[in-house]
Amino acid sequence: MTTQTLQAIADTNEWWAIAPEMLLACSALALLVLEIVLPRAQHRFIPHFAFATQATIFILLVGGVYSEYEGLTTFGGLLQHSATGHVARVFFMLSSLLVCFLATICLPRTKMPRVEFYHILLAVTAALMLLAQSNHFVMFFVALETVTVGFYILVSYGRENALTLEAGLKYLVLGALSSAIMLFGIVLLYGAVGRVATFAGGVHNGFEFGTVANFLHQHPDNFLATAGALLVLGGVAFKIGAFPFQVWIPDVYQGAPTPVTAFLAVSSKAAGFAVLLTLVLNVFSPLQAVLVPVLSLMAAATIIFGNLSALTQRNTKRLMGLSGVSHAGYLLLGVTAALTVPWAAGAVWFYLFTYLLASMAVFGVMAYVGGPDDAGQELQHYEYLARNRPFLGGVLAVGVGSLAGIPPLAGFMGKLLLFVAAFQAHLYWLLAVAVGGVVVSIYYYFGWIKAAYFESWRPPGPKPEAPAPVPAAPSWVGVVTLTALALATVLLGFYQEPLTSWLQLK
C-alpha cells in the first residue's frame, strides 16, 4: 500500500457527514464532565443539557442540513449515507428524546445515579445512527457491539434490584451468544469472498458490503458464503426478537427499568430492521432462493408465537414484549415483500414510525402508573385508571388501539400498507397468518383497555389488603409530550401524506 492510496482513503473522510453522531458522543462526554464541574445543587440541570443537545440535533436532521451527503460513501467505504440512513437517524433521535422523557419520570423514584443513564443513552444512540449507515462489516460489528454493550449496562441499571440484574444477566448471555454467532458468519463471508483485485490496482475483501454482494451475485450457491449469510441474519434476528431467537424478550422486558424497556422495544428493534433491510436488499439479495423461504417461515412463526404467548399475560411489560414479538413478525413480512416489491421498504419504516408513536405513548402511561418496583406492573394496577386519571386513560386507549390496528389510528394504516405490499408480492398464505394474528391480538390489547376502563367483578368480602397505588399526576411536560404522541397517532391515521412522501412510498 503506497502513500498515495492512504492519501486517497484519507481524502474520503468527510467529518461533517457524521457531525450528528460526533455531537452526540461529545455531549455524552460533556455530561460526565458537567457532573464533576457543577455543584451538587445544580445537578438537576444536567438532563436538560442532554435534552437540549438532542433536540438541536433532531431539528438539524429534520431540517435536512446533512442531506447534501446523501448517496456518498465516506471513510474509505466504511459508511454510506443514503436516504434510508437519514430516515433511520431521525427515527433514533426521536426515540432517544422520548426515552429521555421517560427517564425523567422513572429515575427520580430510584436511588440510581442519573447522569450515567443519559451518558449511555446518548452514546448508544450515536452508535445506532452509525450502525444504520454502515457499509462495511467491521464498522457494522463495532457499532452493533457498542449498542449491545451499552444495552447490557442499561438493562441492569438498577443494580440494587435483583430482578433487574437477573434480566441484565439473561440479556448479557443471550446477547453475547448472538453476537458470537453473527461474528462467525462475518468471518465465513470474509473467508469465502477472499481477495478481489480490481483493475485500478485496489484490493477489496469480504468485509465490504458491495464486494460481498458482487461475489454472491457471481457464486449464488457458494456453501461457505450462504452459511455465513444465514449466521449473520441469525444474529440480526436476535435483535428484532424473531422466532427462534425471542426467548430473552419477556424476561428482559419485564426486569429492565421502564425507559430501557421502551428503548429496547423501539430503537433496538428498529436498528435490527434497518440492518436487516440493508443486508437483505443490498448485500444478500442474490440469495433470494434461500432467503424468501427462511424469512417467510420466520415471519409466520414469529407472528403465531408472539400473539399466542401474549394471550395469557397479566404483566404489562411482558405483554408489551410478547406483542412486540408479533409486531416484529408483521415487519418481517414487509421485509420479505421488499425483495420483490421495492416500496415495501418504505412501508416497513412507516410501520416503525407508527409503532414508535404508539409504544412511547403506552410506555409513558406505564411510567406514570408503575411504582418504584416497576418489574411488577400487573394489569390490575390499571383498574380505575380512566376514572382517577382520565388523561392517562385516554392516551393509553389511543396507544393500545394503534398497536392493535384499530381503523382510524396510525397503526391501522401501517398494517394496511404492509399487507398490501405482501399481497403484491404474492405472499398469500403468510398474509393469512398475519391477518389471523391481528385478530388474536385484539383480544389481549382490549383486555388492557378493559382493565383501565371497566371495573372487574370481585367476590363480596374483605377488600384486598394492598390497594393499587394511584398513579402520579403528569407534569406539564408529560401532558404536552403524551398529548403530542396521541395526537400524532390519530392524525397519521387520517392524513399520511407528509410521512409517506418523505419515506418515498409510491
Binding site: V187, N205, D251
Partner: protein, 107 residues
Amino acid sequence: MITPVLAVIGLNTYLHVAALLFALGFIGVLLRKNTLVVFMCLELMLIASTIALAAFSKFNGTLDGNVFVFFILTIAAAEVAVGLAIIVALFRQRHTVQLEELNHLKH
C-alpha cells in the same frame, strides 16, 4: 508467501479447529449451569472466530482480517468488563451464580 509449515497444515486444519472450538463454546453456553463457565464459553466462541479470521487473512492475502482481530479483542474486553460487573452485583444480591436458581422473573 506461505511458509512451508503453513502449507503442510493448510487452511482447512485451522477452520476445523475454529469450528470445533465454536461448537464447544456453543454447546457449553447451552448446557453449563454456572454463569462464569457460560461466560468463558462465550469467550471461547469469540476466540474461535478470531482463529478462523487470522487463518483466512493469511491464506487470502488481505490484511484486514488481522486488523479486525484487534477490534474483536477490544470488544470482548468491554463485554467481559460489563459482564463480570453484572455477575458480581447479582452475586451480592442473590448469593449464587447458578443459572437454575436465577429464575425469579415470572414465566
